[in-house]
Amino acid sequence: MDISIKILRYQPEKDEKPHWQLFKFAIEDEATILDVLNEIHWVHDGTLSYRRSCRSSICGSCAMKVNGRNVLACETPIHRFGTRLKIEPLSGFSIIKDLVVDLEPFFAKLKRIKPYLIVDKPLPDKEFVQSTAELETIGESTLCILCAACSAACPSSWPNQEYLGPAALLKAYRFIFDSRDDGSDERLEIINDKNGVWRCHTIFNCVEACPKKIKITEYLSRLKVKAVENSL
């Protein structure tokens, strides 16, 4: 089918600020957003840059904004949006080039919450015993692919670079609620802060944006409860 695509372009060496560029061509009906970008880059304009790798919704490279919604380009068929597409980089991050944004602050926040199992007890010879119910408490949160779609959709994150944001807080949840972990206190100290979990205003944008359909806001709410219990 014939499609018309507007892409927000920015080449730091040439452009003072981002501008829209229009492309029009025909593509197979079942094409994905990533197929569209590849078609542009490989056939029409080699200067277009974007991130992508796995093509199967697991690496998290190709999160971007299409017609106002944050999606993974690789798993999103164009027919979800019709024949007129508007593609731009994730909001809330500075643009390096075209659809590629600076994710260093995003990954730096992850490191702040001590994203690793903290164990005080002696290690068992074999595995820690963990019940299926205990695992289920954290199961969904371990599916996060760090694509940053949630943070880019979060109005609390936009004006405040210090806010840990939904992805890092979800990771904090994943460890604090892991039955094997002994590091709750030190992590709660980090997130029980005005730029920690309390900056989440339960807007639910992150949940809507998450390509893995993780109920992030719900987990952040459980963190709030835990933070309160812990400080009593």
Binding site: S53, C59, E127
Partner: protein
């Protein structure tokens, strides 16, 4: 372009290329020992393709049924069609158990048995349920866990850097030169030990489960450095690639009981592997599938068959195989609870790669002469653990176990050796690559050349091969290499120049693809994943040996004097399932 050498110079004990399971596990080991470790990766570490692995990681924990390292060993030997080196397998099966418990202690959220231990499921070619799994996102959780451990232990990360040349002189590795993708510019990494953990080379094919990043950059660099590659003709085609897309649908589906059926609704594996059925090793299932398709029993006579999960029931599908369910729904609009999923064989795993010994030291000849300070692990390497065909869920285990061993050995190397001097003009080779692509008068573009390579590799170098097809492929590659000399890029900017990166990757694809074809032409037998219709039998008398290949003066030179390590108790037998 002038390079500010002082600013872009890094002196680090161990430099690791690739941030998948092998690279990260090695980096963690080095950093924990008190040395400095840097990981250079062209994607953010959590985006490495180890994360795409779904079904599980093999270890004989015996949590779900009776099992032992010896059983794991025999299954792996038989699965390899006897081409694997048995000393490597012995080391592997014994270390595998420790590797899994280590992962669990790091916090990996493994799925659990009823009594709270790590759960295990059946996988192709394994005689016991041996795949430790986390739903069907096993690679994803292992990768994220390792990345987080590396953050804890202060591994240095150079994310979005593309390696352009190895700094190697007199058989001693001294470091490498990499391009900063984000900002542009070359960086020198001066090291005492270098690990190549750059993953597989499945991007040479059009229909592939591999990520865009899997362009075999490590194997390309090794060829360029005058070192050999091993067993490159052995490439695994996974039987359950999502139709047209090639995207992986894990073997875990069959491990949980899914069927593969043809146009007549027949579970055709009964004709090819009556006892193992769908859980025969991948080379056999892919060949069976391709035979059904070639003989007109694909669905509607077309080039695909069905993976049928329906009888597993909604609950099991959504609980154990949620990713597979989503992939089929998103990409093909197929609801796997209600409909069968169209599948076809897809290029998946590279058994061949950079030759190394049990210490993961890169070797430069059939005698095993070591290149000091140069290491390799994971899919980029050929130890040879998988021989002619890898068993499912042995790859994550391979990457993690030999990643750890590489980390230990690199640590020893760093403690025993001072930094060796850099070659006289360390940037020259890398700079020349960049300059040529930016300044070429060129009328050629990289994208159509890559497309032609991939389409023809799928057509001529697939599940079934023969002399005529491979001869055509050889000629095509020669032509494409000629055209590549005239490639120019559109984008001349410094920041995140994807055009430049793809052009650089294509040079590697064209280089090692020639080795694949030459090795496959020379090997006049059928073994594991390498099946020739003109030589359909395995020939142990002549071909029970590894292929080594060098590029010398623009030609591929082959050597078959590297034998296979075979223990007296595991002599080659006919391979039946």
């Amino acid at each position: 372009m002038k390079i500010d050498e002082a600013r872009n110079y890094h002196k680090i004990d161990a430099v690791i290329v690739g941030a998948g399971l092998a690279g990260l596990r090695a980096a963690l080991e080095v950093a924990k020992s008190g040395l400095t470790a840097a990981v250079i990766s062209k994607v953010y570490p959590t985006r490495s393709h180890s994360g795409g692995a779904q079904g599980g990681i093999a270890a004989a924990l015996a949590n779900a049924a009776e099992d032992s390292p010896q059983m794991h060993m025999f299954d792996t030997i038989k699965g390899s069609d006897y081409l694997a080196d048995q000393d490597i397998i012995e080391l592997f099966v014994n270390e595998a158990i420790k590797t899994v418990y280590e992962f669990e202690h790091m916090g990996v959220p493994f799925s659990r048995t009823e009594d709270g231990r790590i759960n295990q499921r059946a996988f192709g070619g394994h005689s016991s349920p041996r795949a430790c799994f986390a739903q069907d996102v096993t690679g994803h959780v292992l990768l994220h866990t390792l990345y987080e451990q590396c953050l804890k232990h202060n591994v240095f990360f150079f994310n979005e850097f593309q390696v352009l040349s190895l700094l190697l002189e007199n058989d001693v590795a001294r470091g490498l030169v990499a391009w900063d993708i984000r900002a542009g510019g070359l960086h020198i990494f001066h090291a005492r030990a270098v690990l190549l953990a750059t993953g597989g080379y499945g991007r040479a094919w059009k229909v592939t489960s591999n990520a865009h990043a899997n362009t075999g950059d490590g194997v390309g660099l090794v060829l360029e450095a005058g070192l050999p590659l091993e067993d490159m003709e052995f490439v695994q085609f996974h039987p359950t690639g999502l139709y047209k897309h090639g995207i992986l649908l894990s073997e875990a589906a069959r491990g949980e009981g899914a069927y593969i059926v043809n146009d007549q609704g027949e579970r055709f594996m009964k004709k090819y592997a009556a006892s193992k059925m769908e859980l025969a090793p991948r080379d056999i299932v892919s060949r069976s599938e391709q035979t059904e398709i070639n003989e007109g029993r694909g669905i509607g006579g077309k080039d695909y068959v069905y993976l049928d999960l329906r009888h597993l029931g909604k609950e099991k599908i959504l609980q154990r195989l949620p990713q597979i369910y989503d992939l089929a729904l998103n990409y093909l609009k197929v609801d796997a609870v209600k409909e069968p999923v169209p599948i076809q064989p897809t290029a998946h795993y590279s058994m061949g790669g950079i030759p190394a010994n049990a210490r993961t030291e890169v070797i430069k000849d059939a005698k095993g002469t070591v290149v000091r300070g140069l290491y390799t692990a994971g899919e980029a390497s050929c130890l040879s653990l998988h021989g002619a065909n890898r068993l499912g869920c042995n790859s994550l285990q391979d990457a993690a176990t030999f990643g750890r061993i590489a980390g230990i050995r690199m640590g020893e190397c760093c403690r025993e050796n001072a930094y060796s001097d850099l070659p006289a003009e360390p940037l020259a080779k890398a700079q020349a690559k960049i300059d040529r692509l930016k300044q070429a008068p060129g009328k050629e573009k990289h994208a159509p050349i890559r497309e032609e390579l991939q389409v023809n590799m799928t057509k001529y170098m697939g599940v079934f091969r023969n002399e005529g097809d491979m001869g055509k492929m050889k000629a095509i590659i020669k032509q494409l290499q000629e055209r590549y000399r005239m490639v120019a890029i559109d984008d001349h900017g410094a920041a995140f120049n994807l055009d430049l990166i793809e052009a650089l990757e294509l040079e590697n694809l064209l280089s090692f693809s020639e080795v694949i074809v030459e090795g496959a032409l020379a090997r006049k037998e059928s073994r594991g994943a390498h099946f020739r219709t003109d030589f359909p039998k395995r020939e142990d008398g002549q071909w029970l040996k590894h292929t080594l290949a060098w590029r010398r003066d623009g030609k591929i030179v082959l050597d078959f004097s590297k034998g296979v390590v075979i223990f007296p108790q595991y002599q080659p037998q006919e391979r039946k399932y």
